[in-house]
Amino acid sequence: MNSEIKTSNEDLSVSDPFAAAFVEEDVRGRSLWVDAWHRLRKNRAAVVSGVIMAFMLLLVVFGPMVLPWEADFTDWDNTSTPPSLETAHWFGTDAVGRDILVRTLEGGRISLLVGLVATLVSLVIGVTYGAVAGYYGGLTDRVMMRIVDIVYALPFMFFVILLMVVFGRHIILIFVAIGAVNWLDMARIVRGQTLSLKNTEFVEAARACGVTHNSIIRRHIIPNLLGVVIVYVTLTIPQVILVESFLSFLGLGVQEPMSSWGALVNDGAQDMESAPWTLVFPATFLTVTLYCFNYIGDGMRDALDPKDHL
């Protein structure tokens, strides 16, 4: 459909400049993605954040391979030493002589992984649930939303804690536990969007052509939810990273010698006076990342939300 309009647009542009301008305006309204990309690129905070995150990702993935220390190597001659070039511990060491830089980078892997995977879990559950409820409507919708209301009344954190206590702290469980309590918002947003999408012409057309419900949801509803979903994902990742750090504070986070930014920051916060470097470096990485995700998310929302460019 888009390409058709584009060709006609080219034709018109030659003959009638006024008509061309008019149609261009029209096209811009439709080709949401290109347009959003343009607007996102103009958002300086989001662009800078994107660049920093890309750099951070490279650092976290490849850094530990390059650096001279193993994350679990205990350097007994240099325990709790401040950052120094001499010892080759550029970020200093912790109480058992492990290199903070390597641990920060490896912790970043875990934190980002937890953020991504847990968000994906909540995404899959939330999108499917919300789309089904919104699309079918009626009794199905009411029952499904009733259930969401009920789950909403469960004290979230409490359930994450209970899950961690009951099933032990496996990293996969952290993904599932956080993801499983985070899907509710997603389900609600998606349902609302679906409700309005359901009555649009192209969905009604598809239905009239006898396309099955399942493939309508799959082929028409879900792709059109992408905008909302992407915004939601970028804003959920930092939340999830924070939740993981909260679990680390309660001693329910990832297993040693694995670490996460949350766990490192928590360790560092205990010794913020006696060994400030154990706090400052991981905390900076964590904070910068959270900032970046939030700016990117905000930027995307501004870019994708058609209401905002009135």
């Binding site: 009733r146 909403y152 009344a153 004290p155 206590v165 309660l250 964590l286």
Partner: protein, 313 residues
Amino acid sequence: MRQEGLLRHATTRLLGLVPTLLILITIAFFLIRMAPGGPFDGEKVLPPEIRANLDANYHLDEPLLQQYFRYLGQIITGDFGPSFQYKDWTVNELIAQGFPVSATIGGLAMLLAFVLGTLIGTLAALRQNSAVDYSVMGVAMLGISIPNFVVAPLLILVVAVYAGWLPAGGWDWSWQRMVLPVITLALPVIAYIARLTRGSMIEVLHSNYIRTARAKGLPELLVIRRHALKPAILPVISYMGPATAALITGSVVIERIYSIPGLGSYFVQGALNRDYTLVMGVVVFYGVVIVVLNFIVDLLYAWLNPRIRYDVT
């Protein structure tokens, strides 16, 4: 007509509480019982004779299903039973002592966050994409970018230990001891509210009726106060239900670091100590609190937004 709808809505909401709570109790009951270990396990093991007495005393020797129904029967009368861990207190007493503290801290934090958040958000929206916007929002975002278990000890260190202006921890209902916990708790919420307000305020400021009001030559401040603020904080209001609940329940970190006797750490301690009755009591109580809070927020929302009616639920 509107009032009637509201009443019907209220009744449905409160009736909905019953299945919600039942499900809540069931999940929580069986989940905590699935956790390995029991309330009387310790590094120093008990002789079987003593163990048997304790189990009998707390009905732990009965089949699980029987205990479940016993608990349901007991809870209908509003009795959460005795705590396993804190032997001198009933769970009701512990909640009665802990909740006012949590609610005060959480409520004050919400108030602070609401005032500061909307203020910052509005300011940023009015100066959209300016240096003011970036710097104010940048500072507000600190709240959701630094974990509160870093903020709290840092504040104590600076304000209490170095400067000596406020106590480092503890609780006696004096304002001095509330300041730091309330600020710490409010920081992330300020950030969220500021973001929400900024977004919706920008939208509202671009709407036709604000343009009309401005065109009429009303002073900017008046336009904002009289026309823009109310619609702009609607999304904030709907966020406040779950947020207040999260503030009151999620203050575990704050409670621990500031040594505040709120309810959150009772839950964590209860879960770790397998204090079955305490865990259940706190979960059920919070279930009720959350439902009630969401209900209040609904009412507030309806009051602020004349377009919403409760004719259909």
